[in-house]
Amino acid sequence: MHQHSTEAKPAGPDVGFIFNLAPLSLLVITPAWRITRASARFLADWRVSADDCVGRSLLSFVESQLRPPRPSRIVQLTASIDDAISTREERTTIAINTKHGVSWKARVIPIFNGDELLSIVLEWHEGPPVHVDNDELSKPGFSTDEAFRILVQAVKDYAIFLLDTKGHVATWNTGAQMLKGYKRDDIIGKHFSIFYGKEDLDIGKPQMELEICMREGRIEDEGWRYRRDGSRFWANVVITAVYKDGVHVGFGKVTRDLTERKSAESRLIAAYEESEKLKSDFLANMSHEIRTPMHGMLSACTLLLDTELSARQRDIVNIMDESGKVLLQVINDILDYSKLASGNFTINSDIVGITSIVTSVVRSVQATLPPSVHFELFLAPELPRSVQGDPLRFRQILQNIVGNAAKFTDKGSIRVRAAVQSEDEISCTILTEVTDTGIGVPEEASANLFTPFTQFDATTTKQYKGTGLGLSIAKSLAELMGGRIGYRPNPERQGSIFWFTARFIKIKRLGQMQDWKRTPPVRQDSESPSADEIDALQTELKMVSAIKNLLVVEDNVINQKVILGLLRSIGLKNVDLASNGVEAVRMVRRKPAAYDIVLMDISMPVMDGNAATKEIRSAGILIPIVAMTAYALKGDRERCLEHGMNDYIPKPVNKNRLIKVLGKWLLRMTDYRKITEERFAEMRRPRPATVKVATPGLEAKQFLFEVANGLGAPSTEARQMTPPNEMPRHPPPPSPTSPLPAAEEVDSAAAAPGPSSPNPEFSLRLPSGKAAAAKMWETNHAANQPGKASDQNITSAEANQSASADAPNKQDNAPEETTQTGHSGQSVGMQHPQLSHRPLQHTEVNETDKSSPPVDAAETRAIPPQNKTRCEELISSEAGVAAADSNVEAKTAEPEG
């Protein structure tokens, strides 16, 4: 150590001089890397002065000389020096570019005195001239540019390419080639609109996209794009405007193939829709399937309560009855709730009489209250008489909260107050408030009052029954009606106040009222069928659609198409068309048992619907015929029914109405063919009145009378008891005593029984020679006018019908009635008591009939001469038959009254 220092001392100035003049580029730095000396050669090579470097930190000096500035160079330089120091060996650095286009490498020589680092000498040598790019490539890995280029080139799943400012393709990658099918050389320079379909081109979509892209910087689109071979794929496309130094140079376009995802999506949607549909079908079915037996059970309970019971039995039945009612309410609640939850609940539009609904709800609840509870009703004077909205739902909410008040109030009062909360020109909001002095609602429970399935009485005793759905249903209903519902404690004393609002449309003019009354005959039915009733019917119709055949008689092609469309949408596809009455009669007569129902337009060329119906009836075919009449004016309906039709639908045909009518005639009524068979089965059994003289003719005649009652009599019982019959197809069985008929007579008389006839032995046999028959008919007719008599029955039945037609729902609400159809034979008499109350109409109709005595072939031939007297007797004793059946009548007529 000392040796070194002593040796160095005398050589000091010389060494300095030598150092300076040495033909080497030398830098001497301190252990702290500060530059202490620079040789003259260094200063010349680096074109710096001593002041530029001496005293400065090496790194900051080198950094200032670097061109281009690369921090990585400094790092590498540092590493080399560190390395040299730690190994005490000389090291060579990498080349460093200086601003003068020259690169320098340094030999790093660390100088130690023993373990002490005295200084470091850097000896610089000129390196090769360095080009930046080459320099980059010489290193492992890629530059960013290169990496991106390769990345873009290699990506196969995305088409990534550049467009020039006009939209011409400028670059092309593997993904683009694979996705679009174009080779690089084919596509470069082509306009990108080549990928679009005709529809998109027609609306100028490619250009539009570029414009939007210029405006917003970016556009994303999903749609069909086309490959070179013309096939298409569902694409997600992102176009980005590309700028270089602030100048727009083109667009970057990235396209992805989403065909797979798209089809997965549509599969999902389809599956979802399907499950939704299943769910709503299920709901509709459930409501029908559950409610029907429940109603049956409850009715049976009520009947049972009417019988003599011991006190204990009565208690038990009462429990059954009460539990049944609660269960029904629970079921209704759940069904309502699930419909509300699935958003399938619809609010109908009808006239709402606020005051009458409030009054009737109060009255019904009042009846259940103990005398200790006092009811008060306040109706604000400014309440509108009638508004437009959903009366049923309004009632349901009110019933629920008034019912709750009654349930939870043992003594004190319940106050119901209805007033207009606010109104504007077209609508008004009605506030209804129910205040009770009942048990009230504990504060902590009030937050959850309207949450489904919660009851604040969660105690084990469960004093109050219910699903806990009532209020949440009420809440949803109020919201559906544009209102709200709420609770607050009764400020005066113990108890609660529940209130709700509902928005209604004002009925401004009287005319609007009348419009309501006139246009929607459907709405006129005070209890128009609820939506789920219709749904249930439609489902049922769909199920039987394959075996139901319809004949639509309509002359106007537009109407034909619409009615066919409606039927198709209901699921009924077996529909034949006739475009006028003559055609219809021909089709029905040719195949008398082929159709299940005829939908008949009234006004048609050649032969109108009324005449056609008459013809069909006079051929003895009792298929249900439903008139379709435009402008259902008062009296239209009656007229249709007078002409022998069974029902009518106003035009334009409303789908729900159509479903209801079809449901009635295709589902609820016993098939007219079956009835005919049953009748005959009945007829063939020994019956004192007829069997003695049982000849086919007589039976046929008597049959006609019964039929006549059923004809055109769609009133409650009559329609079900004696549904349309079909005479010629099932004439009486041949009696062994009857003579052989003339062949051609059989044909015409029987109106050619269908080949499908299940009872082939039933073919109409005629009595002796046809001349005799004809002659006999004349006398018969002149003397007794049996044809007229039967017509008379028709019309009298109609009279009854029109009387009871005012209450069409009665029948529909009583499905169990259909089971009575079995007793077809006896029910005939039912119409008679009513008939006797209407003598006026009776004769009136008679007169009109005289002008055109009905002479129908089937009837004529059905009366054999030898039975003339029996016929007369029968006709005159019609009333007697009725009397004989009075037992039946008395019982069945009861519910009607």
């Binding site: 958003g343 609940f345 002359d555 106007n556 537009i558 109407n559 198409k561 006004s603 060329p605 334009p652």
Partner: protein, 155 residues
């Protein structure tokens, strides 16, 4: 319970352009019968068949009017009333009702109008009006169906 009911209300909104020309509920029912709302291949041909039928009927009405054939006019009026009512085209329906009534020598209120000349004049007026209404509606329908499809494209 039924998807159609929800759709109905949407369609009523779309149809608000028709004003008092069209009964939304009835026409909505027609639109519901389309299997696809994109194609509208039930309602569209139906509506344009109707316009064709209307034009033909107007021709025949003109002929009947020239021959002072009141009965013919009445039945033609009834005929077109039927299809226009079915589609819910109220204005056309109402004019047809006028033609039918005067063809029966009745006023719109149903009282007698025995002067045939008056009847023919009233019918001529109604025919003129119904032609204009039909043309207006035809245009509206063209726009309606085009827009329906246009919407489809933009989506």
């Amino acid at each position: 319970m039924h998807p159609t009911e929800d759709r109905d209300s949407q369609e009523v909104d779309e149809m608000s352009d028709f004003g008092d020309h069209v009964d939304d509920a009835i026409f909505g029912q027609i639109l519901e019968m389309d299997e696809s709302e994109e194609e509208r291949d039930f309602s569209e041909p139906l509506v344009f068949n109707f316009f064709q039928q209307a034009l033909e009927t107007f021709e025949r009405m003109k002929e009947a009017l020239d021959n002072s054939d009141l009965e013919g006019l009445s039945s033609l009026g009834h005929f077109l009333k039927g299809s226009s009512a079915t589609l819910g085209f109220n204005k056309i329906r109402d004019s047809c009702q006028v033609i039918q009534q005067y063809g029966h020598k009745l006023t719109v209120d149903g009282t007698d109008e025995l002067d045939e000349k008056v009847c023919l004049e009233k019918i001529a007026d109604a025919l003129k009006k119904v032609k204009v209404d039909t043309e207006t509606l035809n245009k509206k329908m063209e726009i309606f169906f085009k827009r329906e499809k246009g919407d489809e494209k933009e989506e």
